[in-house]
Amino acid sequence: MAPVDITIGRRPSLDGALLGDTDPATQGGYPDHPPRMGFFTDTSVCIGCKACEVACKEWNAIPEDGLLFTGMSMDNSQGLGADTWRHVAFIEQRKPIAAQDPGVAHEGVDVTPLARQGSGTAAGQAAVTPTTPGDAGEFRWLMASDVCKHCTHAACLDVCPTGSLFRTEFGTVVVQEDICNGCGYCIPACPYGVIDQREGDGRAWKCTLCYDRLSVGQEPACAKSCPTNSIQFGPLDELRERADARLARLHEAGVIDARLYGRDPHDGVGGDGAFFLLLDEPEVYGLPPDPVVTTRDLPSMAKHVAAAAATLIGGALAAFAVGRWVS
C-alpha cells in the first residue's frame, strides 16, 4: 500500500473556499485544469423560440414536465426544475426597450388595477397577461433563457452530503446520478431555485452544462441550438469581456435598462459561471436580486451551534445542580 500522501503543497488554499473571487476548479482539487467554461445569456437578442429548452431535453433525455396552459404570456414551463433545465421566461411590459416603436395603443385601458403587482401578479389572478404598468403606447416583450448558474460558490454543492454534486475540472457544478440519494438538501440551498427533485425518481437533477459533451470538446446542446446566439458558451474570462463590451454598446445605444447579472466575481456567490445580460431587474425574470450562497455564513453558524451546544451542556449541569432541590 502506497503511503498516504497528505502533502500540504498539493492542497488548495482554504481562503476563498466559501466566498470571494476564486478559481473553483483549483479549489476542487484540479491543479491542472482547462479554463473555466460557462454561459453568457444575452437576453437582448433572445427571440423566445425555446430551442434551448427542447435541445436540452433531447440531449439529456429529460421527461416531459407537465401539459399546463399557464396564462403566463408564452411561458408554459414556468421555471427551472428537475425536468426543465433551460427555461425561457416571457415578460410583457409597458416599458420601452430604447427607441423601438412597438405600435401598440392601449390608451383607453389602465392596466394597473388589472395587474396589481405588475408582472409579479400570478397569472391566474390577473385579468390580463400580467404587465408591468407604464405609459400607454409603450410596450416591450422580454424573453430570457434561464439556466443553472454554476456558481463560483455553489450552495447545492457545498451542502450535498454524498458528494453527488461535485465541481468539475471545467469549474461547473454537476449532479452525479449514480451517487445522489435524494436527500433533497441541495434543493432549498440553491438561492436561484434551480435544482429540484424528480418525481418518481427521487433524485435531484439540474443542468450539467453538458459535462459529457464538454469532456469531448463539444458545446452544450442549448448553446449549440440557439438561433440568435443569445446563449453563448465559452471560457468564462472571454465571456465576461464580451459581455462588458456588449453592455457598453447597449448603454451607448440608449438601452439604459441593460445590466449584467451574475457577472461580478465579488457578489454573494462569487460570480456565476452562467451569467446574463438583462433588460430589467432580476426579480422581473424570477431571479433573486442579491443572491448569497448560504454557506458563506457557515463559519458563523458553526460558532452559534457550538455556543448553543455549550449552553445546553451548561443547562444540563445547572439542572443537576438544582435538581436535588426541585424534585
Partner: protein, 188 residues
C-alpha cells in the same frame, strides 16, 4: 487487493490524498462521471441530413449507433443554419424515434368501430385493387365531347413534407393512371 482498491477509491480517503480536502471536486467524482461517453462521440457514424420541419432547410447531423438513431442535432457546416435548430428542429429525435410513432399497418373496415391489424403486403394489394376499381368507375374518356382520358375516382393530397423524388413518382404514377386531383399543402 480489492479491499485496498476499495479503500483508496473511497472518496473520504481521496479527500485526503487527492488535494480536495473539502470533498467538493475531484475526490467526489464518481465512476459514472469518470467514464462519460457522449453519444455524439461514441456514435458509429454521423449521417448528413436536413431538418424535416419547415423550408428553411437547416442542416442536421444524425448520429447512429448499433443501427439506431441516437441523436440528431444541427450541422455546423451548413451555410443555411450554422448548426442551429429551432425548437421543432431540436425535437427531431423525438419525432423520428418517439413513442407516438406507429409502426404497424392499421385497417378500419367499412362501418367498423375500431382498428384492426393487417399485413403490409395484403394492405398494398387491397389498395391496388381499390385503385384499379375506383379508377375505372370514375373514368372519363370525354367530357362535353372533348377528350379527357382521365379518372376523377380518386384523389391525393400531400407532398410538401415529402422528398422531391417521392413527389416525382407520385405525380408520375397517378398521372399515368389518369388522376388529376393530385394536390398538396402548397395550395393550402
Amino acid at each position: 487487493m480489492r479491499v485496498r482498491t476499495w479503500i483508496e477509491g473511497w472518496p473520504v480517503v481521496r479527500q485526503l490524498t487527492d488535494g480536495d480536502p473539502l470533498g467538493r471536486g475531484a475526490a467526489a467524482k464518481s465512476k459514472h462521471s469518470a467514464h462519460l461517453d457522449p453519444r455524439t462521440a461514441s456514435a458509429d457514424k454521423v449521417v448528413k441530413s436536413v431538418c424535416p420541419f419547415c423550408a428553411v432547410g437547416c442542416g442536421q447531423n444524425v448520429y447512429v449507433k448499433n443501427d439506431k438513431v441516437v441523436h440528431i442535432e444541427g450541422d455546423p457546416d451548413s451555410p443555411v443554419s450554422r448548426g442551429r435548430l429551432c425548437p421543432r428542429g431540436s425535437s427531431t429525435l423525438q419525432l423520428t424515434t418517439g413513442s407516438s410513432r406507429e409502426y404497424r399497418v392499421l385497417y378500419r373496415r367499412p362501418h367498423g368501430t375500431d382498428w384492426e391489424q393487417l399485413p403490409l403486403d395484403q394492405a398494398m394489394n387491397m389498395i391496388a385493387d381499390r385503385m384499379i376499381k375506383t379508377r375505372r368507375e370514375g373514368w372519363q374518356w370525354e367530357v362535353d365531347g372533348k377528350r379527357t382520358r382521365r379518372t376523377t375516382g380518386f384523389a391525393s393530397l400531400g407532398g410538401a413534407t415529402l422528398d422531391n423524388e417521392e413527389n416525382y413518382l407520385i405525380k408520375k404514377l397517378f398521372t399515368a393512371l389518369g388522376a388529376v386531383q393530385i394536390e398538396n399543402q402548397a395550395r393550402i
